[in-house]
Symmetry: C2
Subunit: 221 residues, 2 copies
């Protein structure tokens, strides 16, 4: 079985959990607390030299890092990975945009407020984070105006990658009220089959599935 | 003919120029000065809403952004793009590592020192940039120890992407003397066929090809 090293509050980790569940791929979740240095231990560094979650361990022990690289690996050969060369390039364009122009602002502002806590140094940097985050949201709003999904108007890898931190941008202090196209897209992504919330873990699902009246899940039961 | 919007000092742009020349794909270079706001004009924003170089304009006017997405687009179907699923995932892992853990430190320190100039605010942030850059170089040194290239021990997209800013890390104040595996790898990449330096532009090559004694180039003459 695949094993995912992850931290539930992480949008980067959530991308991978959402993808795995969407594709009905069972996996073991190993939770590491990034606020306590659990991704910088010698044992974990032997799995990911860069010391970050999410890290996906394949059945032969091979470990893959970088959330968006993991998404592409999992999506290959499924209908979430575009068949056309240009659509693949556009998908990758959105994934690199996410890691360079979106995550360092939207996700970091959220992480400071919600996970790590504010310090005077972070307070000083926060206006720059908010400005960069709004610039990224502006780009998304324009791209989604008149479109249902980010690439080729069908749900795919790019939507999963961008949804992860955009849907919790409010927790970073971003006001999505001014972004009607983004809000409509968030709603569409959330109603895709097998959608799960950011704090979802497979164990939760197994418990739900085992509770009275719950429908059995084909993967986790 | 393809048209590349670029800024010669940019390692992100250099990746694409190096890839295009390696693949013997002719292109027109349109140089934009990022220090003068030339990537934030309405005309350029209509090509790349995120206002960044490099941006590749295809023959039908379609524009692709994000240097590493452009690399993948160009490499598909060539021997620079791995045939195996795991090697493709590893390649993408290195590309996302480059944009998240390497470029924001190694390239930004260089850009401040060389292109934009230091300010008191940048001086205050520089120690963090140096620390992050050395962490990225440590990861590369470990990965390249005992290996000729980053993925599957053969030259490919990941090497081009990581070479771009690593080979000029010294201009950002980084000391590569402590990284023998990185230095040996830089030497191997630089002796690959059709290698060109970071400030290369097709017009230079055309001029060289037309000068007395220069060998004619199959692409640009």
């Amino acid at each position: 079985m695949l094993r995912l090293y992850d931290f539930l509050e992480s949008g980067n980790g959530y991308k991978v959990r959402l993808m795995l569940h969407r594709l009905a791929i069972p996996f073991e979740l190993v939770e590491l607390d990034i606020t306590k240095g659990e991704t910088r231990t010698p044992g974990f560094l032997s799995k990911n030299r860069n010391g970050r979650i999410p890290t996906l361990e394949l059945e032969d022990g091979t470990c893959l890092a970088e959330s968006n690289a993991i998404l592409c690996y999992l999506a290959e050969g499924t209908d979430l990975w575009p068949a056309g060369r240009l659509a693949r390039a556009r998908t990758l364009q959105w994934l690199f945009f996410e890691q360079y122009s979106h995550e360092p602002f939207v996700a970091v502002a959220r992480a400071w407020r919600r996970v790590f806590g504010m310090t005077p140094e972070r307070e000083a940097q926060l206006p720059g984070k908010m400005k960069g985050g709004y610039q990224a949201l502006d780009v998304m709003e324009d791209a989604l105006t008149g479109r249902r999904f980010l690439v080729d108007d069908r749900f795919g890898v790019a939507d999963i990658a961008l949804y992860a931190y955009t849907h919790v941008a409010g927790e970073g202090g971003f006001d999505l009220a001014r972004y009607p196209a983004i809000r409509a897209w968030l709603g569409r992504v959330a109603t895709e089959p097998r959608h799960v919330p950011i704090t979802w873990r497979p164990a939760d699902h197994a418990r739900q599935a085992g509770s009275p009246g719950a429908a059995p899940d084909p993967v986790f039961t």
